[in-house]
């Protein structure tokens, strides 16, 4: 889509990388223009008027000028800073993980109003009380759904039969659940419990509000995280880098020490 020479959009800043002397290259998620990479000039200087409005995990109203390689930000006004997320390490690592998954699953310049709405609701939900791990699984499932990669949780992806309890496996390569006749652990298919499958089915149709009703035991949490991690790795063909930090955040403060410091 060709953008006008000067345009305005609301955006959530997903990430920022240093560029040149004092600039930053920002990855934005916008509702109507999708994911954009834009240049923010001079924002690494202390007296920059724009810097505070363009920090990662900030929702801002932006004014931009079309450029040859990257569009340039000419004005910015923060609308939602998610300060509570940025003041707690465990919440911050979770929010950055969600932002990275959204970044990796979103193609450049494809309009994505549902992903934008989902991310904003997700950031707000992370700051509210509730089961934060279940919330992450919900966001993973719905980001996959928006990107068109939702795994099949109902029928065998090979023979299309309804899966019977206890007779199924999960296959990232084949895009979902497979029955024991079609799949085999020898081909990399992994066992998945019927309860994990039920939770995943529930998550794919649930809303933020309905998440609160669900109680998930910790063993099931680990299984859900593992299933979705392996599926994301298959779809993205790489690791989600911030996932490693998520595991630290979940385990609590003492585990945050680097391995070498713990040994010392």
């Amino acid at each position: 889509m060709t953008r006008p020479r000067l345009y305005s959009t609301e955006a959530l800043v997903l990430r920022a990388a240093p560029l040149g002397e004092a600039d930053r290259l920002l990855t934005l998620l916008t509702p109507a223009l999708g994911k954009l990479q834009v240049k923010a000039r001079g924002v690494r200087k202390t007296a920059s008027k724009l810097a505070g409005h363009l920090e990662p995990l900030t929702r801002s109203l932006l004014h931009l000028a079309r450029g040859q390689t990257w569009d340039t930000i000419t004005g910015a006004e923060a609308r939602e800073s998610f300060l509570a997320l940025k003041s707690d390490l465990a919440l911050l690592f979770r929010a950055l993980y969600v932002a990275e998954v959204a970044d990796l699953l979103s193609p450049l310049e494809e309009p994505a109003p549902p992903v934008y709405a989902l991310l904003l609701e997700g950031m707000r939900a992370l700051m509210a009380p509730g089961d934060l791990d279940l919330l992450l699984r919900y966001l993973e499932v719905h980001l996959l759904l928006c990107a068109g990669f939702l795994p099949e949780f109902q029928q065998c992806t090979e023979c299309r039969e309804e899966v019977a309890p206890g007779r199924h496996l999960f296959s990232p390569q084949r895009g979902g659940v497979v029955c024991t006749s079609c799949g085999s652990p020898a081909h990399g298919d992994q066992p998945i419990s019927i309860n994990a499958l039920k939770v995943l089915r529930f998550l794919s149709t649930a809303t933020f509000g309905s998440l609160r009703a669900l109680r998930v035991p910790s063993a099931l949490h680990r299984e859900l995280a593992q299933v979705l991690e392996s599926f994301l790795r298959h779809v993205l063909e790489r690791e989600v880098r911030s996932a490693a930090f998520l595991r630290l955040a979940v385990l609590g403060p003492s585990s945050l020490a680097p391995a070498s410091a713990r040994e010392a």
Partner: protein
């Protein structure tokens, strides 16, 4: 490609273009311009540049205490008896040490992390000089650690992370004040900066 397919540059020229292109902020065109500028440069000036680069790699080491760049170990700052050895200021980069030293307002020691925690880039504590910092605190002589990482997302994450790690090891952990910059306009300030400024306000006695 740095060189033309039709009129290939001489091999040494092409090699230098390729090497310069690896530097941050240097694109293929700038690399070409710099290379041809060096070709025209008097021999002794080009040699001086080459020697400066060599000396950098041969003589500059990191100080075993503060991890700052130095020619001798320990560095002059760590070896200075006039400095306050009970205070350590933790910064991200060697350039931050120069910035704080320029103020002439700080007389303690430093610790350079050589980066900041950045989950999306896969940079965690293992990639920074965190272990060396914790080792310096083990002796119990340090009374205050000043967290002077950048006031951005990575810097804040690093500060929060270090605070958790160091809390049992040092009596006082402080963070550089975050708020309105000198010469700035209040009306342009973002919500986070204003909140931090209000939280960090002080008694006013001009």
């Amino acid at each position: 490609m740095a060189t033309s397919d039709f009129y290939p540059a001489p091999a040494p020229v092409a090699r230098l273009i390729e090497e310069l292109h690896k530097l941050p902020g240097i694109g293929p065109k700038t690399a070409q311009r710099l290379t041809y500028h060096l070709v025209r440069m008097p021999g002794e000036e080009a040699l001086a540049l080459a020697e400066a680069i060599l000396a950098l790699k041969q003589k500059v080491i990191t100080c075993s205490r503060c991890q700052n760049l130095t020619e001798e170990d320990p560095c002059p700052l760590c070896d200075d008896p006039g400095r306050d050895w009970a205070t350590i200021c933790v910064v991200e980069q060697p350039l931050d040490v120069l910035a704080i030293e320029r103020t002439r307002g700080y007389h303690g020691l430093y610790h350079v992390l050589h980066g900041a925690i950045s989950p999306m880039d896969g940079i965690g504590a293992e990639e920074l000089r965190v272990r060396e910092l914790l080792a310096r605190l083990k002796g119990g002589s340090v009374q205050e650690v000043i967290l002077a990482t950048n006031p951005n997302l990575q810097g804040e994450a690093t500060a929060m992370y270090l605070q958790r790690l160091m809390a049992p090891l040092v009596p006082r952990i402080t963070r550089l004040a975050r708020g309105l910059p000198v010469g700035g306009d209040l009306e342009y300030a973002d919500e986070v900066t204003l909140i931090r400024s209000l939280q960090g306000r002080q008694e006013f006695s001009p």
